[in-house]
Amino acid sequence: MTTLTLAKALNEGLRAAMDADSKVLVMGEDVGKLGGVFRVTDGLQKDFGEDRVIDTPLAESGIIGTAIGLALRGYRPVCEIQFDGFVFPAADQIITQLAKMPLRSLGKLKLPVVVRIPCGGGIGAVEHHSESPESYFTHTAGLRVVACSNPVDAYTMIQDAVRCDDPVVFFEPKRRYWDKADVEFGAPGLPLDQARVARPGDDVTLIAYGPMVKTCLEAAAAAEEDGRSVGVIDLRSLNPLDMPVVRDAVNRTGRCIVVHEAPVFNGLGGEIAARVTEQCFYRLEAPVLRVGGYSTPYPPSRLEDHYLPDLDRILEAVDRVFGY
């Protein structure tokens, strides 16, 4: 057991993946000497060389496009997108090529490419550095989308993502990069497509992923003081969703709130709400509520505390869901 930050857990996970398979490459802007702006790739170039840890030209479409080509040649590239807001120049390569080429080839081509995206707000950054673009990818068939929320998962999930033969978009909660936990090297985690009951609860189920898991756990603890038993599910996998775990929880509580940083409108919360409602219709005491970002571009950082779901907003939703 070693105490690691989430960033360091990812770093160790990547290191293990590169040790295990010489075809694994890391590529992106500033991933080499600098070790990435969040130091997730720190030291990897020094240890694995410039052929396996590639500082690329500054162009995201080029990063994903050449990663696809490398994958076609048998490599397993792990691409870093420097910040959430900079994934869009690569949208075409991700959506029309990475996601669709395996089907296009009737399974003859596989593209084990991982696209790592530090995501979310709460770090006081300038524009484009605090976004949550997961819905653009969960809506794109052919991609797997996952989000880690803590160092233990980060360590195993990144390795599982690298081992996965499908393309995986891997979200990392940047404001949790410095959160610490004890990580056991070599220990396996939950399968990549399974959700985790982060906290059981009888009265209401909070569904979250990435940075909001911690916030939800805090809200659950606060609610307990008011005598409410609030469960929290950490989805981990955003596409596919682990509906059995979600269903079980909601069937028990009859009340459900989805929490994410992305704008609510047409966000993943809508999908979850619609599915939960269809699958647990007779058990629901209230509509599934959603707490998330507003339908505005991510605001300047002096306003982000208002924009982001926090304890108060979650607890307010808990109150509301009991109002039905």
Binding site: D51, T56, P57, A59, S61, G62, I64, G65, T66, A67, I68, G69, L70, A71, L72, R73, G74, Y75, P89, D92, Q93, T96, Q97, K100, M101, P102, L103, R104, S105, L106, G107, K108, L109, K110, A141, G142, R144, C164, D165, D166, D193, N239, P240, L241, D242, M243
Partner: protein
């Protein structure tokens, strides 16, 4: 052989009249058999194309993108590759597919809507058709970076059109290839048109010059001259394999037909242009050369003609016999590993379908 008659910037080894000419930097020694083989490729490839157009007219294909006029560019470059090289085509490289040994039936399958690409790219080292303009150039560069890492003797050869040169991806591919010195040859078929847009909507200067700004050589070749296309591409590929980095080859040619069977070129181009280019037909000049140099006789041409006819007939029959995919096939291969959502939807769909059984 005589001195070249075209502007020096255009590499030409065979004139439209079928005369062999010299070029200071590029030449090629072809046996009679090789020339005849090239001629055969050109004729058969055109025949496949013709049959496909006919099939589309008769409603058997949803669409077809004809290569008419571009046979030499495709066969010349296609035959320049070794088995180890990897080709990345657009949607029009039927001639390259032929050279790589891909059964034309697979091409028809795609345009018939049976699948999005039915061949095994690794079997022929011929990647799937890419429809999103320019995307494949980056794949080719990435693949070439893989070749570098493998220490293999091979190169990527990537096809794209004049219109594609305007896409960001293509220019990023130039940058990547240059910076990483990747073993890739960029083969641009400048057929003068991007659907209805003439070349001047994409560039003010000859396209082959684009490469110079990225720090690697560009060269313009007569795209209707199969010898020149072969010689120039072969040299560029060898150069790439030897670690000397990328080359941009601009094959100066002409799209003799419509953009696709959905297009109506009379809306935007004049007939004269087509007539002028007909005089530069890529097949006629090889035929003239074979005749003139007595490398082939009428019997040979008749034989090829007959082979072409048979090929067309067979292809038609096999196309009509192409089975539609099973309905549930749309769920296959979306993911390589099990995926709960796909499984759920496949099951719902199967249940739904079974509701119709026995009905009506």
């Amino acid at each position: 052989m005589t001195a070249p008659t075209t502007p020096p910037e255009l590499v030409q080894l065979l004139t439209p009249e079928g005369e062999r000419v010299e070029h200071p930097d590029y030449d090629i020694d072809l046996t009679a058999e090789e020339v005849r083989a090239l001629y055969r490729d050109l004729v058969l490839v055109r025949r496949v194309d013709l049959e496909a157009v006919a099939l589309q007219r008769q409603g058997e294909l949803g669409l077809w993108a004809s290569l008419l006029g571009q046979e030499a560019a495709q066969v010349g470059s296609g035959r320049a590759m070794t088995d180890a090289d990897m080709a990345f085509p657009t949607y029009r490289e039927h001639g390259v597919a032929w050279c790589r040994g891909v059964d034309p039936l697979h091409l028809l399958g795609l345009f018939r809507g049976v699948n999005h690409g039915g061949w095994d790219p690794y079997e022929h080292n011929f990647h799937l058709y890419t429809i999103v303009i320019g995307s494949q150039t980056l794949h080719a560069v990435g693949y070439a970076m893989g070749i570098q890492r493998d220490g293999a003797e091979a190169a990527s050869l990537v096809y794209f059109g004049d219109g594609a040169t305007s896409q960001g991806d293509v220019n990023e591919a130039f940058i990547w290839a240059s910076v990483f010195n990747a073993p890739v040859v960029f083969f641009c078929q400048n057929n003068q048109w991007a659907i209805s847009e003439p070349l001047e909507k994409q560039t003010k200067i000859p396209l082959y010059k684009r490469a110079s700004g990225f720090g690697f050589p560009g060269i313009r070749v007569d795209g209707n001259d199969v010898f020149a296309c072969l010689a120039v591409t072969r040299a560029a590929l060898r150069n790439a394999r030897e670690g000397n980095g990328p080359t941009l080859v601009e094959a100066f040619t002409y799209r003799m037909g419509a953009h696709t069977t959905s297009d109506d070129p009379t809306r935007y181009r004049v007939a004269d242009e087509l007539e002028a280019w007909k005089l530069k037909d890529p097949i006629e000049r090889v035929k003239a050369y074979l005749f003139r140099s007595q490398l082939a006789d009428q019997e040979f041409f008749d034989k090829i003609e007959a082979e072409a006819e048979q090929l067309g007939k067979d292809l038609r029959a096999r196309c009509l016999a192409l089975p539609d995919p099973q309905p549930t096939a749309m769920f296959d291969h979306v993911y390589v590993e099990p995926h709960a959502l796909i499984d759920e939807e496949r099951e719902q769909f199967t249940t739904y379908l079974s509701g119709f059984e026995g009905a009506q």
